[in-house]
């Protein structure tokens, strides 16, 4: 058995999954919540976005199960000797992607390259020449890379895309079959209905997204064992692999920081709105102080403090990974602690409004305690604000991480993140010939993540705040959107 390692952010991420599961259970049992979420379900863009988000979340979760593998026993060791564990901590994702992780080149190489990006002195038939050396891993199965490369890449791409397409067609056929079974329609009619978007769930949009994702995955799966699909970075790491590892950092920052704002904002927002008077004054004072400090400076102040703290107490952290992880954890917490002011302000306003309503007055007249009123009558009626703000904040935080990493107060330099990737890309873009693949891969991943979250968030907002539905675009002649 390997030795499992539970990092602080792993724990936080699993805890959030638990909260999410509990919320889903609660939502399924509450008719009103179920109705709101059904609105999101009927929105094609939101469901496609949710699909992409689930993929990202799966990657992040796979990357959050950490362990230290068991080392093979020394040949002359006694059978009862203590089991030795590797000093390197791996995650399940690392193990799944062992090939690309270990295929480390010397330095830059272009996507799908067989040769290094820069020239080097190499020995060829006893003479030293400056040329582009062969890559150690990328395309090493080719005997004559110049002649075979194009054909090989094409053949493998077609194979990959073809098998992907096969899966897509099979899946689509199964879907149509199940739909036609359920509605009792003929197979072709059911297919036509789905193609024209006539279904309770937006199967057409989900299908298109799934097709794109599957084709991409199949193409990468066909080529990755033989080439660096998106090239390698300065230290020779596979760019696609680094990007996949960065997903976890982004997800942790986005979700953990959002979760961290909720307790403080909820407590202070409801207290201020319910008790009014000096409690309100005091809480308003506190969040005005916090929000008057420029956020980057406040966060840097906190992060510099953390850095000093970590440097002073190196004995607390066994490995470099743990040290980097605690910094990520604290960074997300700080983002939450400094960001509660806005949510608290919204919750305070809503509580002020609710406190004047008859049912709260009635509860007060019946002698329900303050805590009881806040818990039973106010809290359930402000949760929709929390849900809206939580999904809206996520994408902003992912983008913010990149900025903070650039300022130098983001994640640990050894933690793979989109911010650190963009930072290094700054110098790469000014080289000639330009190194474009690191930036574009990070760009694609980040846009996919943030865009999906934004689309999902806007549907959630419309579901929980009916006024927001008025701002929806309804182009004339377009298929009628869910109402």
């Amino acid at each position: 058995m390997p030795k499992f390692v539970l990092l602080a952010t792993d724990l936080a991420l699993f805890f959030q999954m638990l909260v999410l599961v509990l919320y889903v259970r609660h939502a399924l049992r509450t008719p009103l919540l179920r109705q709101s979420w059904r609105y999101v379900q009927r929105d094609g863009a939101a469901m496609s976005a949710a699909l992409v988000l689930v993929v990202f979340l799966l990657i992040a979760l796979l990357d959050s199960v950490h362990f230290r593998p068991r080392l093979p026993p020394a040949p002359d060791a006694a059978p009862a000797a203590e089991i030795a564990y590797s000093t390197r901590t791996l995650s399940v994702l690392d193990v799944l992607l062992t090939g690309p992780r270990e295929a480390r080149e010397k330095t830059y190489s272009t996507p799908l390259a067989t040769h290094q990006f820069s020239k080097e002195s190499i020995q060829r038939e006893g003479v030293t020449v400056r040329d582009f050396p062969r890559l150690q891993y990328g395309g090493r199965h080719l005997e004559q890379p110049q002649e075979q490369w194009g054909g090989d890449v094409l053949r493998r791409s077609v194979n990959g895309l073809g098998s992907g397409l096969l899966v897509v067609v099979l899946g689509a056929a199964l879907l149509v079959l199940s739909q036609s079974q359920r509605s009792g329609q003929a197979f072709m009619l059911a297919a036509l209905d789905l193609l024209q978007g006539r279904s309770a769930l937006p199967w057409r949009a989900i299908g298109v997204t799934l097709t794109v994702l599957l084709l991409l995955a199949a193409w990468v799966a066909a080529l990755w064992p033989y080439y660096h699909v998106m090239g390698t970075d300065q230290t020779g790491n596979d760019v696609l692999f680094v990007c996949l590892k960065s997903v976890r950092t982004a997800v942790v920052i986005g979700s953990l920081a959002t979760i961290a704002t909720i307790p403080l904002a909820l407590l202070f927002g409801i207290l201020a709105g319910y008790f009014k008077g000096w409690v309100d004054d005091g809480i308003q004072y506190a969040y005005t102080v916090l929000s008057s400090i420029p956020s980057v400076l406040l966060i840097s102040a906190f992060v510099l403090m953390i850095q000093v703290f970590i440097d002073k107490n190196p004995q607390w952290f066994e490995t470099g990974l743990e040290r980097a992880d605690i910094r990520l954890f604290l960074l997300a917490t700080i983002l939450g602690l400094t960001g509660w002011a806005q949510l608290a302000r919204l919750l305070r306003a809503e509580t002020l409004k609710l406190g004047e309503l008859d049912y709260v007055q009635a509860a007060r007249a019946f002698g329900v305690s303050h805590a009881g009123i806040m818990r039973r009558h106010l809290l359930p009626n402000v949760t929709h604000i929390i849900v809206i703000v939580a999904v809206l904040d996520f994408s902003g935080l992912v983008l913010y991480e990149a900025v903070l990493s650039y300022v130098g107060v983001g994640v640990d330099p050894n933690t793979q993140s989109f911010g650190t990737m963009i930072n290094s890309a700054r110098n790469e873009m000014s080289r000639d010939p330009v190194i474009w693949w690191t930036l574009s891969t990070a760009f694609a991943f980040m846009v996919a993540l943030v865009l999906s979250m934004t689309l999902f968030a806007s549907a959630v907002r419309e579901a929980f705040d009916p006024r927001a539905r008025a701002y929806r675009v309804r182009p004339a002649g377009a298929s009628t959107l869910p109402s």
Binding site: I293, L297, L304, V308, V473
Partner: protein, 325 residues
């Protein structure tokens, strides 16, 4: 009115004191002057003598909040907190940890910062208002659909991408403008063109969507229906009636942001090598120069509070229905 303003300013001062206490605790309680001395002297030869000498030189040799050796009121006043915080209120920033005069640096750098921030902000508001009005004008058509979709896409791209891609496209490939740098006088226009344009584009997605919802809300009001029913064309209704009424909240919200423009744009300035307050701050963070960071925190909060007070005043001036309570 005067009474109201005085009360707001006093409240602002109270908040500033809170900010100061918070930053003081943040900076000094965790990172004591001894630690600062160790970082600044550096190397292995950090002796107790060297630390004491560094602290006396920089004036860090007093207790943090309470001086037991002093007499009477001096028990409270001969402390680092009072000595380091009070001068800030008189805008005396003192010297940075590396020995430079912070006040002088601030005066030198305010102008370049403003030269970048002000055009970005004003042009940005103009462009965004125009774009969102066009969106509203073409509402419920495919023009609106695709422009909203495009705005959502713009919103989802990190600001850093705009900068890196913009520099690459316009400076490296097309060679239209210099990649970075700054010059005084009229020459600065060349250096500012690209950062200003990028600044506007990177803000456009989110703000265009925001202004769009604001205009849409305005368009549902009664006076708009009246204007339409008396036969005015849609463009007159939109550009004269709706814009005129929506301009009020736009202007008052800009008042809140105007003072903060002095702080400069952190990322823009350091990417484009503009010697403003933003790059000053970034250098201070990277160099762990706490004196400068504290000064910038103070300045930033003071300007933010100034913005709040100005917003309150401009609301009462612009809308007589708002009563001073």
């Amino acid at each position: 009115m005067l009474n109201y303003i005085i009360r707001r300013v006093l409240y602002g001062l109270l908040i500033l004191i809170g900010v100061n206490l918070l930053t003081f605790i943040l900076f000094f309680a965790v990172n004591t002057p001894d630690d600062m001395a160790r970082i600044n002297i550096g190397g292995k030869r950090v002796s107790a003598d060297a630390i004491a000498k560094w602290k006396t030189q920089r004036g860090y040799d007093k207790p943090l909040l309470f001086n037991e050796q002093a007499q009477g009121v001096e028990k409270l006043s001969k402390t680092l907190f009072v000595e380091r915080s009070l001068p800030l209120f008189a805008l005396q920033f003192g010297a940075s940890d590396t020995g430079r005069d912070i006040g002088y640096e601030l005066r030198q750098r305010a102008l370049p910062s403003l030269a970048l921030a002000l055009p970005t902000f004003l042009l940005g508001v103009f462009v965004v208002v125009v774009v969102s009005l066009i969106m509203v004008f073409f509402r419920n058509t495919y023009v609106e659909f695709w422009s909203v979709a495009f705005a959502v896409f713009l919103l989802s791209v990190s600001g850093l991408f705009y900068i890196i891609a913009g520099q690459f496209l316009f400076s490296t490939v097309l060679k239209l403008v210099p990649a970075s740098g700054f010059a005084g006088g009229l020459d600065m226009v060349v250096f500012l063109l690209l950062p200003v344009a990028i600044g506007i584009v990177s803000r456009m997605g989110g703000e265009a969507l925001f202004y769009r919802t604001m205009f849409l809300e305005e368009i549902g009001k009664d006076y708009v229906r009246t204007a339409r029913s008396k036969g005015l064309s849609e463009s007159v209704v939109l550009f004269r009636h709706v814009l005129g009424n929506a301009l009020l909240p736009i202007l008052t919200s800009t008042v809140a942001v105007l003072p903060l423009l002095f702080m400069g744009a952190l990322i823009m300035e350091s990417f484009f090598g503009i010697p403003g307050l933003g790059s000053f701050t970034i250098d201070a963070i990277n160099g762990q120069d706490f004196a400068v960071v504290r000064a910038m925190v103070f300045l930033g909060s003071a300007l933010y509070i100034l913005g709040l007070v100005l917003t309150d005043i401009s609301y009462t001036l612009a809308d007589p229905r708002v009563r001073l309570a």
